[in-house]
Amino acid sequence: MWKKIGDRESGKLRPNSFITRIRSNRASSLHLSNHKELVSSHRGSVNSLQVDLTEGRYLLSGAADASLAIYDIQRATDYEAGGLIAKHKPILVDKQHQNAHKYAISTAIWYPIDTGLFVTGSYDHHIKVWDTNTTQVVMDFKMPGKVYRTAMSSLATSHMLIAAATEDVQVRLCDMASGAFAHTLSGHRDGVMAVEWSTSSEWILMTGGCDGAIRFWDIRRAGCFSVLDQSHSQLGRRPPLADKSTTKVSTSKARAPPRKVGSGSSSKHSGNSKIIKQTKGSAKQRLHPGLLTSQDRATAHYGAVLGLKATEDGMYLLSAGSDSRLRLWDIQSGCNTLVHYEIVRLQSSKAIQLDVSQDSGVVFLPCMTSIKAFDMWSGKSKMTLQGHYENVNCCCYSSHDQELYTGGNDRQILIWSPLKQIPADVDECDRSTGQPLAADEDNWSD
């Protein structure tokens, strides 16, 4: 370690590779934290966790008993066991609020710009926007079905849309600026369980439905422009350059043109759809070219899509399905990269939240009662984190501290971090000074 610091100082080791090496070392040695604990006061299973995107300081959790909690994960509230274990109590727990949700909260996300607002979605068909400091509901959207997931784009500079995935087949976009619905995206044939904004464009939304399809939407246009098909695959991280023999069989099925389409080809496709309708024998209306992909029945999974996560560079998408598969998709080519992650079983009734570490390419996936960490490119299982007593629903990785937060049906939120060295001479110091050892004297505030 010291040698590496010396190398960095003398210029032998580049600072970026130094940082990546340390981060990946820490990320591959996660254990149940021996120096940090969250005191969870939820009385229902923890359904959603998110660390805020601006500072990485506050953890927001939503539970099945309609309670929310915010934890300050960098400053502990008190210390136990002679200052060795930092206990973090929630800053805000909300159950008896008059505007609180009535049923389970399925998703709680921070407003991506700052921690002054957060958005929660619940099985009581409502999406509420809360003001953190006053803990008041400032906006309320009523949905036609149970809300499974909400998402806001962290890249957005020109819109403040909340994408809502509900048990209804349409994905709705709620506008925070105006308090009304912006528009709806139709195309799925069953409820939508997972929704995720693209990490490379503020206009692109990815949704995964209970019908097993993953659709890509450009919200400025009608209809989705791409449906991921698990039989379209590429053998490797990126498709080979020279080999243009695509596996996309051009069929008489009407398919929306991939990506940006010129007006010429869209008229050709609408011509195709007319022909299809006539051979079917029933006189149907001509479909809008944007809705052509509602004919596309390609599935990404043999069951429902339970969770989606895009990598930070915007090039790959991970999707977890109830057929107990985790698939890695190349977003630009729309192909399955065929990386096989060794999973035996995934819970199939609830949406799960998976996470990817930023640099080291580690995927954290809740598998029943444990969390498995996989190497993203080879699919090998690096670690299995066993600690929860019941099924794990959500996990959130903070790349700032290399810590993993997981919440499960056992109402606990566990912290997994690289082990901290406990000084051997701790007992003598404690008795002599009588003060908590690890108390941080810089931890003061007006």
Binding site: G212, L235, G236, T251, R297, Y302, I343, V344, R345, G379
Partner: protein
């Protein structure tokens, strides 16, 4: 380095740490001119070790979970299967015996099985089966096909009616999908009793191990057992359950032990 013998009737299940690199050399295949990858060798070995069933004549098929337990790197298996599928060397079929079961069959074996099934069906209109073989099987390597596409591919052979598709379903070559009424799965005909044996054999093997005190058994003893309910041999089931993660192997000083994975 390789200590297994080439004789199929006595070759034991390989331990998982060894790489399988001994091809079955006493078979005359038309596949000898293909490049041997690890997956290909495993496929051929398992095809040769497919148990002979007396009452039903079924061409050898391999389950995908068996491949996962024989070759270490699963991503490599998936990618090699994909390239073999694209080259039309083998076909992938989705089975209905539980979640995510896929059967792999070499193209010639499948065509033989298909011809056998078609011959046993006494119908007048045999033309539709030829069109199916020529136009659909050879051009569509995926395990499923949509209704419109099926009609358009079959009509390359001649005039197609809906009754022809019913003929194909009756012969066992196509199955409707439960989730989606417009899509069909390709299926292996006349395989029903073997699949029933597969599910029952799995249950029997798992219950055999679950009844033990520590839910484990030595591999040497387990291999000699015979399953009552399944016509497939125990090695077939062992490979399948190891690949799907229900069982695991543990190296002990007295040999390999098979244990049930608890979760």
């Amino acid at each position: 380095m390789e200590t297994s013998n080439n004789n199929p009737s006595t070759s034991r299940k390989r331990s998982r740490s060894e790489d399988n690199s001994a091809p079955e050399s006493n078979q005359s295949h038309s596949l000898d001119n293909l490049i041997f990858s690890d997956t290909m060798v495993a496929l051929q070995m398992m095809r040769a070790q497919f148990p002979r069933i007396d009452k039903v004549s079924v061409e050898p098929f391999i389950l995908q979970s068996q491949l996962y337990s024989s070759v270490k790197d699963r991503t490599q298996v998936d990618r090699e299967l994909e390239s073999l599928r694209r080259e039309k060397v083998l076909r992938v079929f989705k089975l209905n015996t539980g979640q995510d079961d896929h059967a792999l069959m070499f193209m010639e074996d499948y065509l033989k099985q298909m011809k056998r099934a078609v011959k046993s069906m006494e119908t007048k209109k045999q033309g539709v089966f030829e069109w199916f073989e020529v136009h659909v099987i050879h051009s569509k390597p995926e395990p499923c096909i949509g209704h419109q596409e099926l009609l358009s591919l079959l009509s390359l052979g001649g005039k197609v009616k809906d009754e022809d598709i019913s003929l194909l379903i009756n012969a066992g070559l196509l199955t409707r999908q439960l989730i989606d009424s417009e899509m069909y799965w390709f299926a292996i005909p006349n395989i029903g009793s073997v699949l029933k044996g597969l599910t029952q054999g799995r249950k029997e093997l798992l219950s055999l191990l679950n009844r033990k005190k520590y839910k484990e058994m030595m591999l040497a003893i387990l291999e000699k057992k015979r399953l009552r309910l399944s016509p497939l041999d125990i090695r077939f089931h062992l490979r399948d359950l190891l690949g799907s993660g229900h069982l695991k192997t543990i190296q002990t000083p007295s040999g390999l032990v098979i244990r049930v994975v608890k979760n």
